[in-house]
């Protein structure tokens, strides 16, 4: 069991921390995936190769930053043809555009949830995107123990807005992105 952490609560509990804390992602305990609708069924895909850079300011959450780069050439689409379609020119065009990037521009917190506003670039097209973030700490840890956390980020991308409009009759426009990352303070 993990306890959900209120960002505001963390802010009060960790008022002594002034600067953003850099966190490293533990790949062994991190899943970066997405869900799309194929036909009428949800299919889960993954981005096994990624770079995620997280800095959290528990004193002022607006100073926090998130940088994400997802490698498209190793993206999987849930089954072999889904993977091939995903990487094809009609969707991610992985050969020409080897990464999806997200860079936060502002972070706002309230209750147990933060909103990460930023720019996402897919196929060379950049659009604004707001992600939702939640932080968890392991069961049995104290509120001040912020060394090892779990960061869950979710968001929805409309692939058509990036020209990734292949197989529109079969595959839905929305990609539900989920990053479930184990992060460790540096």
């Amino acid at each position: 069991m993990r306890f959900i952490m209120s960002l505001l609560f963390i802010a009060f509990a960790s008022a002594t921390m002034a600067a953003p804390q850099q966190y490293a992602v533990d790949p062994a305990n991190t899943d970066v995936g997405f869900t799309y609708i194929f036909g009428e069924k949800p299919i889960h895909g993954t981005f096994p190769d990624y770079d995620i850079d997280v800095a959290i300011d528990f004193g002022d959450v607006s100073n926090s930053t998130v940088l994400v780069a997802l490698k498209t050439q190793t993206a999987t689409g849930g089954f072999i043809f889904g993977t091939q379609a995903m990487r094809s020119k009609k969707i991610l065009n992985a050969r020409a555009f080897p990464a999806i990037t997200f860079k936060s521009t502002s972070v706002t917190g309230g209750g147990d949830t933060a909103q990460i506003n930023g720019d996402i670039t897919i196929r060379g097209v950049t659009n604004p995107l707001t992600l939702t973030a939640k932080l968890f700490r392991p069961n049995g840890t104290t509120a001040n123990d912020l060394d090892d956390l779990t960061l869950k980020i979710t968001g929805t991308v409309d692939r058509f807005a990036f020209g990734a409009d292949g197989y529109a009759d079969e595959v839905g426009a929305a990609l539900e992105i989920t990053i479930d990352a184990a992060i460790k303070k540096q």
Binding site: F38, G39, E40, K41, I43, F79, I80, F81, Q84, A85, S88, K89, K90, D169, E170
Partner: protein, 178 residues
């Protein structure tokens, strides 16, 4: 019963290839039309690679048939006019050409989609073209046109066989059935 053709009869191998391919071509035509009208989803997606695998199988059988035809002379045509003989030769040539072209066009189109072409899960068939949506669309159009033309010609071929059997009352049809 001879495996090879004689001057009066088709051999067992020619008859087997003829009827297997005839049934296969019609089945593939109906199969292709069925999946082209289908709303594709996870439950029926497997039909597409299955169509491709059967297409490769058909192309293999057709290649064997053509080799057999080249190395094994068919029976001498039964009496018919020079004009009918020319029509028959032209139709047969067109049938052979379209039997090769139809799966080949499908293979090129399928290659250009960028998807792999598994042969019944045993191995992946080599791709003949790099990923190119325009080429895929073009060759799938050729594939559909060639398949439809092939089916029309096969109906004419069947009509000619029935004409020989019921009107001319010769052994042309029996040579390939018995």
């Amino acid at each position: 019963m001879s495996l090879r053709n004689t001057t009066t009869r088709f051999g067992t191998i020619a008859k087997f290839l003829h009827w297997t391919i005839a049934v296969g071509l019609w089945a593939m035509f109906l199969f292709g039309n069925y999946i082209s009208d289908l709303k594709i989803g996870p439950d029926n997606f497997y039909l597409i690679p299955r169509h491709k695998a059967f297409g490769i199988l058909m192309l293999s059988l057709i290649s064997i048939r053509i080799l057999w035809r080249i190395t094994n002379r068919p029976p001498t045509p039964l009496s018919s006019s020079a004009r009918e003989h020319l029509i028959a030769r032209t139709t047969h040539a067109a049938l052979y050409l379209l039997m090769l072209a139809t799966p080949l066009f499908g293979w090129i189109g399928a290659s250009a989609t960028g998807f792999s072409i598994p042969f019944f899960g045993l191995f992946n068939v080599p791709l003949l073209w790099g990923e190119d949506e325009n080429i895929a669309d073009l060759f799938f159009m050729f594939h559909g046109f060639a398949a439809t033309t092939l089916i029309v010609l096969s109906i004419l071929h069947l009509g000619a066989a029935l004409y020989h059997h019921f009107i001319l009352r010769d052994d042309t049809l029996r040579r390939i059935t018995r």
